[in-house]
């Protein structure tokens, strides 16, 4: 074993030498290079959300929308790259991403977070680094109403107002007096249903909670049968709404079914099938006007009709690009520009109040009816 101890000495020596050397010569590999500075306008904009996983279909159209806005942008001076970060919607996976964006000065802004959980987990990181966020779809009320941060803005109204709009649709358009409210017990569905319940008051007949991943809703159905509702409101996602609707209709309950924007998306019709005929989805997104070329352009670029929040994604990118057009060349000036921004967007008249929300009067709520598998705009609702 004497020989062996010599090997060890050699190994130890090499290791020491290696470490010592490494302290001297370092190469710059930080953040993939591309440090922005001076007058050259060479920036990145991040987009952060669930690009893979079960909920990707709610996020991907908005990323494509942002991409489209960038491709259509006309500016000779600046070079902008849209960098996509997949978080799977998981806050734990979103924090390293946020730290990465925060640490790379060439990022002047971020579109997102797409979901409320990851936004909650990362907004203080972005705030510390001064990176402006414009979210296309995070609707949790507390994001702008509690623990406010300077840098957070969003293009969608928060759950409280959505809940009020849904309740208004139920009472005014449907004429319901006995609404059965169901939610999915998650951070998205529960507060929305809470707000609907609050606004409906005694026009709500019963409330039931279900779970994500559930397919058998027999207990909920039997509660409905005894409650005899004249409308049903569901706060949750498509995966559970589809079997729920099927079982409601199978049980012979034909009360109108109204869902929140968690159901809004091109795949709603594919998931609910026959049972979903006539189901209504409420969304704070105005139908894209016929004379706009957006839908056609989108379809040409990505091969499918613009889905959930595609217009919001487009608008979010447009806000950042307008900042660059205006001459903003660092994070602070972008933040200043976005705070004071007003402009006509695809989804709405874009402006941000002191909390980072779009002013109420700029937002329009629309009820979309599922007809033959596609969501057709039915009526605008003012909460």
């Amino acid at each position: 074993m004497i020989r062996s101890s010599k090997t060890w000495q050699a190994v130890a020596f090499t290791a020491v030498a290696g470490l010592a050397l490494s302290a001297c010569g370092t190469t710059d590999t930080d953040g993939g290079g591309g440090s922005a500075g001076g007058d050259d306008c060479n920036f990145k904009i991040g987009v952060m959300g669930a690009l893979s996983g079960a909920n990707a279909s709610i996020v991907l159209p908005s990323v494509d929308g942002a991409d489209l806005a960038l491709r259509q942008w006309d500016n000779d001076e600046c070079e902008v790259e849209l960098v996509k970060f997949d978080t799977e919607g998981d806050p734990a996976k979103a924090t390293p991403v946020a730290t990465q964006i925060a640490g790379d000065e060439s990022f002047i802004g971020v579109i997102g977070g797409a979901f409320s959980g990851e936004t909650r987990a990362t907004k203080s990181i972005y705030n510390d680094a001064g990176v402006t966020m414009v979210s296309q779809s995070a609707t949790a009320t507390d994001l702008t109403q509690e623990d406010q941060v300077e840098v957070f803005h969003r293009l969608v109204p928060y759950d409280d107002y959505q809940g009020a709009a849904i309740a208004k649709y139920l009472t005014d358009e449907v004429g319901a007096t006995k609404v059965f409210v169901v939610d999915n017990s998650e951070a998205y569905g529960e507060p929305l249903a809470d707000r609907v319940e609050e606004t409906l008051g005694d026009k709500m007949v019963q409330r039931d909670k279900t779970e994500v991943g559930q397919t058998d809703f027999a207990p909920t159905i039997s509660k409905m049968e005894s409650a005899q509702p004249d409308a049903i409101m569901y706060g949750g996602y498509i995966a559970e709404a589809a079997p729920l609707l099927k079982q409601i209709r199978d049980a012979g309950i034909d009360a109108p079914f109204v869902g929140g924007d968690g159901l809004y998306g091109a795949d709603f019709g594919n998931a609910v099938g026959e049972a979903g005929e006539g189901a209504v989805v409420m969304c704070p997104c105005a139908p894209i006007e016929d004379d706009s070329t957006f839908a056609a352009d989108f379809e040409e670029e990505f091969g499918s009709a613009p889905g959930a929040y595609a217009a919001e994604g487009y608008d979010a990118m447009s806000v950042f690009l307008a900042a660059l057009d205006d001459g903003a060349r660092d994070r602070a000036s972008v933040e200043e520009f976005v705070d004071g921004y007003t402009g006509e967007g695809l989804s709405k008249e874009v402006a941000f109040d002191e909390n980072g929300d779009v002013p109420q009067e700029n937002v329009s709520y629309w009820a979309y009816k599922n007809e033959g598998g596609t969501l057709v705009p039915e009526v605008e609702v003012a909460p």
Binding site: A54, K209, S226, A239, G273, E274
Partner: protein, 321 residues
């Protein structure tokens, strides 16, 4: 806490529980058969079920079956879908055994390793439908929920004491129980079944007696897979959807049901499945569905504290005809 609602509609809720439990029980059979023979939890079994639901969708699409067809066509389409689901699920189960378990058995690996390859296979199967097939073929594959046409439309057949018995409900309960008895009879009466019981009881002695252990193991996977295929068809009829990750929750519940009834025991799977289904529905009525899973697991812990090997006790080998 709404005990009144439970008591006043007890018959209805029990029926709901039995319907839910029937599907658990069918999937639980796959866990229990494999466990009985190999003392191994087949974690990929949930995905065996998932593949079956896609086979149902595939069959309907291939023959162009939709809602509102004539009675003859409905029966033909349903039987065809049943066959396809059973074949697809049995084939998947066999493939999992071949790829993930057999090489380990040859090396005499400890049970923990089988668990990890099982989980690995489960991820691979889920991603095959969520990602690989989507990239190759596009929709309907992918990570979104897909509708399966209601070929068999729900109608009320008759009423018993104010309870509407629909055709789908009847089919699920009767179908599940009939399959269960067929399997039970097969294992207890047939020659092949005797082989299964022999290997379950004592693999070494069984092989001395001329039972081909490898073939018995393959048979067990095929039978368990076929039962998952039946469950997949009944599930499609009842809920009308499939998705790349639907197997997970059903698998979790079915596994719980198998343990509850006594894992390794065929009748235990039936009893455990029905018991779990009923307990879940009752809990959802008393509180709400958000507490369903907590109730299921609390019930499991309590039962196991008093009966450490489940309601009916384990062992496929000792199950007497």
């Amino acid at each position: 806490m709404d005990f009144d609602a439970l008591i006043s509609g007890l018959d209805r809720h029990t029926l709901d529980g039995i319907t839910r439990g029937s599907i658990y029980a069918l999937v639980a059979l796959g866990y229990t058969m494999v466990y009985g023979v190999m003392k191994l939890i087949n974690f990929a079994h949930s995905e065996v079920f998932m593949v079956g639901t896609w086979a149902v969708l595939g069959t309907y699409t291939a023959i162009g079956a939709t809602a509102g067809m004539g009675v003859g066509m409905v029966i033909a389409a349903t039987l065809l879908a049943l066959l396809a689901a059973m074949l697809a699920s049995a084939g998947t189960a066999l493939a999992v055994e071949r790829i993930a378990y057999r090489p380990l058995r040859k090396k005499g690996a400890p049970p923990l390793i089988f668990l990890i390859t099982g989980i690995g296979c489960s991820i691979v199967l889920v991603e095959t439908f969520g990602q690989v097939l989507r990239v190759i073929f596009g929709p309907p594959f992918g990570r979104v929920t897909v509708n399966i046409p209601s070929v068999l439309e729900t109608t009320t057949l008759f009423e018993i004491g104010g309870l509407n018995i629909t055709n789908t409900r009847l089919l699920i309960i009767v179908g599940a129980i009939a399959m269960m008895f067929a399997l039970d009879t097969f294992v207890n009466k047939s020659r092949l079944g005797r082989g299964v019981r022999a290997v379950a009881q004592d693999p070494d002695t069984a092989s001395l007696m001329g039972v081909n252990q490898e073939r018995v193991i393959m048979l067990v996977f095929v039978l368990g897979g076929a039962m998952a295929g039946v469950a997949a068809l009944l599930y499609s009829i009842q809920y009308d959807i499939t998705k790349f990750d639907i197997g997970f929750f059903i698998g979790l519940k079915a596994f719980t049901a198998a343990v509850l009834g006594g894992i390794g025991n065929l009748r235990g799977a039936l009893v455990g499945g029905l018991f779990l289904g009923i307990a879940e529905v009752y809990a959802s009525i008393i509180w709400s569905s958000e507490w369903t899973n907590v109730t299921a697991f609390v019930v499991l812990v309590i039962i196991l504290m008093f009966r450490p090997t489940g309601l009916l006790g384990e062992s496929l080998g000792k199950a007497r005809a």
